[in-house]
Amino acid sequence: MITATGVMDNENVYRSYVAELTKYATGLVGPFDAADVVTDACLKAFASSKWPEVENPRAYLYRVVLSVATDHHRSTLSRRLRELKTASPESLPAQEVDVDVLEAVERLSVQQRAAVLLTYWADLPADAVAERMGISSGAVKRHLARARRHLEEWLS
């Protein structure tokens, strides 16, 4: 990802990770705003003064996506879900939406969603999840435990 002149090739990085970052963001904020979150996160990362020194751009981008998604706010998914339920059929988004899953995920904080996604979708061990979230392994376990409580009904 580093060019011969030592400059991070932003476009190459972007093209390498945008697909998985979009999936990750979908799990964090839902399908409606995932693309915006990824774009904002990449803009933010590439403009950061830390970016040229980043050793693991993939992990760094995951952290920035989480940060942007957190700023995007927990309530947004709830609002989107309500809009979805009250929208007229012709105004529904073209993409298929799994309302059952959205309603379950809505109960989780963004941090809990990240812990669940990185653990069960990305299949990462707790220390790797912690690195991508920028928190401790213990905090990851706490997020997972809380997520489980919030999802008790869905999981049963």
Partner: protein
Amino acid sequence: MSRFDEKMKELADRMVAMSPEPPPYPEDLAVTRRAESRTRPMLAFAGAALVVLILAAIPLLLSRGGGEVPPLATTTTLPGETTVSPATSTTFPATTTTEPSPTTTTAIEVRGAVIYLVQSPENSFTGNPALVPFRTQYQVPASTPEVEASLHLLTGALNLPPGYITSVPEQVDVVDVTLDEHQITVDMNDAFLDGAGGLLADYTMLNQLIYTASHFGEIELVQFTVDGEPVEQFGSEGLDISDPLGPDAFLDQVNSVLVTSPVNGEGGEALMVSGVANVFEATVSLEVVDAGGNVVVEDFTTASCGTGCWGAYSFNIDYPFTGEETVRVFWHSPEDGSPSDVVTIPVLWDDPDGWDLLRA
């Protein structure tokens, strides 16, 4: 893998399966980013300016409100094509109830909205009022532009929660709204011309409207008109507001600490607190206070400018919010170290039974 793990994996996979197409790489990303990095601080600065003005007006403006800071979340229906109204919905304005009509079929959407109200900052150093974002929900015909709906919500009679006030008189209303890229033209009724009863109140009223309008999208300028004509004589002092106004128009009259995020009702395992401030040595402090009044988080940061200039600041708080905490943002007086110009934002999650702004 246990059954629990299998279900969690199923949940994660089904969530990810809804992923849209990845966004394309913007070819001019680097240029775009440089431009944005200049623009955003300006917008934040402008936002802070408006808040300052509003705060200055608080003591004079308190025409409605008072007390402690509370929760929120109201469901409101705008005037017009109301139809599929749930039993609990209210029709805007609050004094009017619209009967469901079997012949109307306009879709009603529930949306989130943020309007700007006014707080009196604790231990105010400047005496200026604080402009604070207030989150709510409302039901609105699908055809109503978001910004118009929010401005309607701000004008007219409001059942304000304790701790919040507004300088917008009840009789003031929005007649029409026109959007043109980064500028919005808001046509007001005649009552608007009378202002809010004093110069400071007039400024604060304008700030509330400007901030509420510019909270949506990329609106940077607000043009006020009455009967379609720009306003050359406004309020008690006959202010000339015939030119479009940006959020920095009255910045010097707002509390020295402006919080633009979070708004009431937001929270989770982490929270970003951000805004702009013009404080001593650019040092902005923060506390999170739990329901029992205990300070559970303390932090400080350095704004990008201070002691005579406005700078952006932000905090990232990683704390297991229960939804009953309060965030306090302030600066320490160099004289005695006491918290000054304290802005208080309650952290409350979605509450369907929350504060109803339009309750009669």
